[in-house]
Amino acid sequence: MTDVNNDRKETTSNLNIVEPDLNIEHSLYSELSSKFKDKVQLVYTKPNRIKVYVEPEHIIEVAFFLKSQLGLDHAESVCGTDYPNENVIEVIYHLNSYSHEELASIIFALSTKTDRNSSYLPSLLPVFKSVEYHERETYEMLGVYFQGHPRNERFLLPEDWADIPPLKKDFRIKGR
């Protein structure tokens, strides 16, 4: 048992060493906020994770700055979440970097929100080629129309799908 406890202490001390790494996350945000002032809002920073909220009208310039100046070169995923109580759909781009070694462990979550009943967002396809299928999936699963995306159409669902987008909260699985 004593061995196990010692090992645990070691892992916690390792965690303590990891914590100063938050410098990278904070420096990413400070560079962003010095450029865009109050257009960007920090949601949280955790080890290797940072989340920033941007209004839809500024998202393209922020994304372009992230790619060209800070080196976040691709999107790992695009995720839409439905919040019926607040009447919004949140769309998050999880960005990461292959070309900058020090940023490879960071996941930068770029978040934006749109109205739930008329969901329109500018597409980030001109900035990140990698979002093409992810945005298409978000369109069919949550009904968020990406302006500027060439193909806002069915992707994974059946060809004869005639119901509301299934990941909206008011779509219920039958029998549940």
Binding site: D3, V4, D7, R8, T11, N14, N48, R49, D73, H74, A75, E76, S77, C79, T81, D82, I92, H94, Y98, S99, E101, A104, S105, I107, A109, F128, K129, S130, E132, Y133, H134, M141, R154, F155, L156, L157, P158, P166, L167, F171, I173, R176
Partner: protein
């Protein structure tokens, strides 16, 4: 005489070229033929893509996934954190330990718990063995679709070694449901370490034979070398992952860049190549298998002899309000979960981002402009698993 003759000849040439141009222009649209590859075609898996060919050249490609879409993300919202495990491994049953690994990591962050050290090692060992199972299965399929039936038989046979090991460890051959938030379901059986080392030593000898019969085969090399070039810049831009990315010269492996659990104590090299072609995409998983034997040996060596493997949770744990994003390196690249919790016992939103879905973006990029005959070697080298991409 000569003038008249040359004039008439000139006129004739003009007429024929004019005629010829029209014919060519008309035929350019007529010549295109639309082909549907899959979903029943044996060379595509449960996946369909439409291609247009001009003679032997592919000029257009449009992937159409979704034939095995199950709605995993929606299903997650109806079940609690523990009930989600068995159905989440269905998208890729050959790599079921890795697809539940990052889910468990994310849920652990939301529950605020830490896995006991021995549990972390057993997890990592199971995921390494399972990655071998997946890669061998993929290699078998790649072999048979390039017409090399020995390369179908051998990996399919050697895969049984790892399946036996995993069956001894977890109790099931393919769908293990082994990782759970808080650790692993059960401890190692007695004598597992010795058996595992014995099988790995045997398997490393077999890998040399694979290289001789398959990777050094001149026919295989001719069909894959300089075929389907994906330059480094394009690979980064398209956001591909796993062996496809590493074959384009980017040494990116989640186990290295963001070590989870005990991987920061393991000494290993990220395997990558710089030739960017189908051969590199087929050879990098092979190098990964060899390195994985190395990693498994170190894990078995460094594992504590005794201790807890699982942190006991209450029966229906409630998550903290917040979100978690965790990723692991699977057989097909980074596999990440984004989970939002509203404080109840069920996740509010689960997003699964898988390597297959990201890699398929490279398919139109690679196929357009290549020969129809190169299609199998390009498509299968993308390490694409249709069921996982559809979720």
């Amino acid at each position: 005489m000569t003038n008249k003759y040359s004039e008439s000849l000139e006129r004739k040439i003009k007429e024929t070229t004019k005629l010829g141009l029209d014919v060519v222009k008309e035929a350019a649209e007529d010549r295109l033929m639309t082909l549907s590859v899959g979903p029943q075609h044996p060379g595509s898996g449960h996946f369909r893509f439409t291609i247009k060919v001009d003679g032997d050249y592919i000029v257009y490609c449009d992937p159409d996934p979704g034939y095995v879409h199950r709605g995993e993300e929606k299903m997650c919202e109806y079940r609690n954190f523990i009930q989600n495990i068995p159905h989440l491994e269905r998208p890729v049953i050959h790599d079921s330990t890795n697809i539940t690994y990052s889910y468990s990591l994310a849920v652990e962050e939301l529950l605020g718990i830490e896995v006991p050290r021995r549990g972390q090692f057993i997890r990592a060992i199971a995921s390494e063995l399972n990655r071998q199972v997946y890669t061998l299965y993929w290699l078998a399929i790649y072999g048979i679709f390039l017409g090399h039936s020995t390369m179908f038989m051998w990996p399919a046979g050697d895969r049984e070694l790892f399946i036996d090991l995993l069956a001894a460890l977890t109790g099931a051959r393919v769908t293990h449901a082994f990782n759970i938030p808080g650790g692993v379901r059960n401890d190692m059986p007695e004598g597992f370490k010795e058996k595992c080392l014995e099988y790995i030593n045997y398997f490393e000898k077999r890998l040399k034979e694979y290289e001789d019969i398959f990777y050094n085969n001149p026919l295989f090399r001719q069909r894959t070398e300089n075929v389907g070039i994906l330059p480094k810049e394009d690979a980064i831009d398209l956001g591909v992952t796993g062996s496809v990315l590493r074959a384009s010269g980017v040494p990116h492996d989640v186990r290295k860049v963001e070590p989870y659990d005990v991987y920061n104590e393991i000494d290993f090299k990220v395997q990558y190549m710089k030739t960017c072609d189908s051969f590199a995409r087929a050879y990098v998983p092979f190098l990964d298998m060899r390195e994985s034997c190395n990693i498994t040996r170190q894990l078995l060596d460094k594992m504590p002899e005794s201790g807890e493997v699982r942190l006991k949770l209450q029966s229906n744990p409630k998550g903290l309000i917040g979100e978690a994003y965790k990723r692991v390196e699977s057989g097909r690249g980074a596999l990440s979960y984004y989970i939002v919790s509203d404080g109840s016992s069920k996740p509010y939103r689960v997003k699964i981002s898988v390597g297959s879905f990201r890699n398929i973006l490279a398919l139109p990029h690679l196929l357009v402009g290549s020969h129809l005959g190169d299609m199998p070697s390009i498509y299968w080298a993308l390490n694409y698993w249709p069921v996982e991409a559809d979720r």
